[in-house]
Symmetry: C2
Subunit: 255 residues, 2 copies
């Protein structure tokens, strides 16, 4: 069976307070897609954050002395560094322009996932606003799923994704940051291979593989297709959340 | 436009010396897929390695004292550790059962990508054989592409993938290890976002995102679908190779 990923057409610019469920239902219709049980909708973090009003006006931020000092080291706006630190549990590494952090949500990423592009402020202050990640992306995903299921009357999956860099490879790739009904890990332990041996690979990051696939067809920037419809995800849908994809600190060899 | 990923049906077990081009042409036919210009075929590393006869009989391996010492520390077969070290440029970390290495091909992965599952040896010695990665996966990809293009008369892309763990997230994900005609990185620097700002995200690991997507539909183990047909990859095909996806050592913050 094929897996088909289709970016929804006709998704408008999202403002604080917008009803993403309603916008998604409309965009599905515009795109000529009839949602079916077991389909998955993947949302770019950016539109979820915008709908949730996760803006911070940098003009209102007073950097701490720690943020000011770090900002000088890495040549970054001290107010932005302050916001990054507030969203983080720990700093792992720094280099010019970038702070690699453990985000308060548990994952490791650059600059706490704070987005300085596609930022809509007000008039001349546009560049003073930055967008945080959703407060609780798993909860956001569950709300989106519940709202969409209410409209259609059957179970689907919802995932919220962002783009992260990697330690040893270049280029960002899509990763899951919020899950509702989509498995993050698929456990293949004990399944026999073709010759009856037990597999050595124990767990597949199926949720992140789906995130990468959706990110690929979303594109970036001007295309403006922040929601992707997925049909044919090859594993059963089930309850899940982000934590199953995060390596526990005691297993971390690279911190 | 949708991106459609279809695992090919009817792909047989692959033996040393098998003609993967011929097997792929047959499997496309069995699967009812008419290949088109611009389509991409993604191959699991395992079938490429098998066709290339990349077997090592552990009974023929004499571990060095270094391999023997390391094997004792991490509780692993010293002959297998010896083979892993021969395939690696550097050891980054070790833990029970696992050596994280810089592979001679340049990427960081566990156990030099040496596969101890799905191993076909001879008779009672089955478990004594392990499978190395292809000697030069970019060259393997180019040969496959050339062979398939010769049959069909138009340009396509070919990628060879493997499954790697990640530093801070659980679960393996598909990554590119050989590229022919498929971009590894897509450079978005300077493209304006919706408000005309320059993007901060500079490069998307599109090849790895495609690898993850293909890995997802390939499944693992008993399914036996090592080749995936892709239609609708959203970026133009171009010449590329693995090196563009590898972070140079001087940019590595986590070694």
């Amino acid at each position: 069976m094929s897996m088909v990923l289709t970016p929804l057409r006709g998704f408008p610019l999202v403002k604080s307070g917008d009803d993403l469920v309603e916008l998604t239902v409309q965009a599905l219709s515009v795109s000529g897609i009839t949602l079916r049980e077991g389909d998955i909708l993947v949302f770019a973090q950016k539109v979820v954050s915008k709908a949730e009003g996760r803006w911070v006006n940098l003009a209102t931020v007073t950097p701490s002395s720690r943020a000011t000092e770090l900002a000088q080291q890495i040549e970054k706006d001290p107010r932005l560094v302050e916001v990054i630190l507030r969203e983080s549990r720990a700093i792992l590494r720094t280099r010019p322009g970038t702070i690699v952090v453990e985000h308060r949500l548990g994952f490791v990423c650059a600059n706490a996932g704070i987005d300085h592009s596609n930022v809509a402020g007000t008039g001349t202050e546009q560049e003073e606003w930055v967008l945080l990640l959703p407060e609780d992306p798993d909860a956001s995903a569950r709300r989106l799923r519940a709202g969409i299921q209410d409209r259609f009357g059957f179970p689907i999956g919802v995932m919220i994704i962002d783009s992260h860099g990697r330690a040893w490879r270049l280029g960002t790739v899509g990763v899951a940051i919020g899950l509702a009904g989509v498995p993050g890990l698929v456990d293949l332990r004990g399944k026999p291979d073709l010759f009856g041996y037990r597999l050595r690979i124990t767990q597949v990051g199926a949720g992140d593989e789906l995130a990468a696939a959706a990110s690929l067809v979303m594109g970036q920037a001007a295309e403006g297709t922040p929601v992707v419809h997925v049909r044919g995800f090859p594993y059963p849908l089930r309850e899940a959340n982000l934590s199953e994809l995060l390596r526990p600190l005691e297993q971390d060899l690279f911190r």
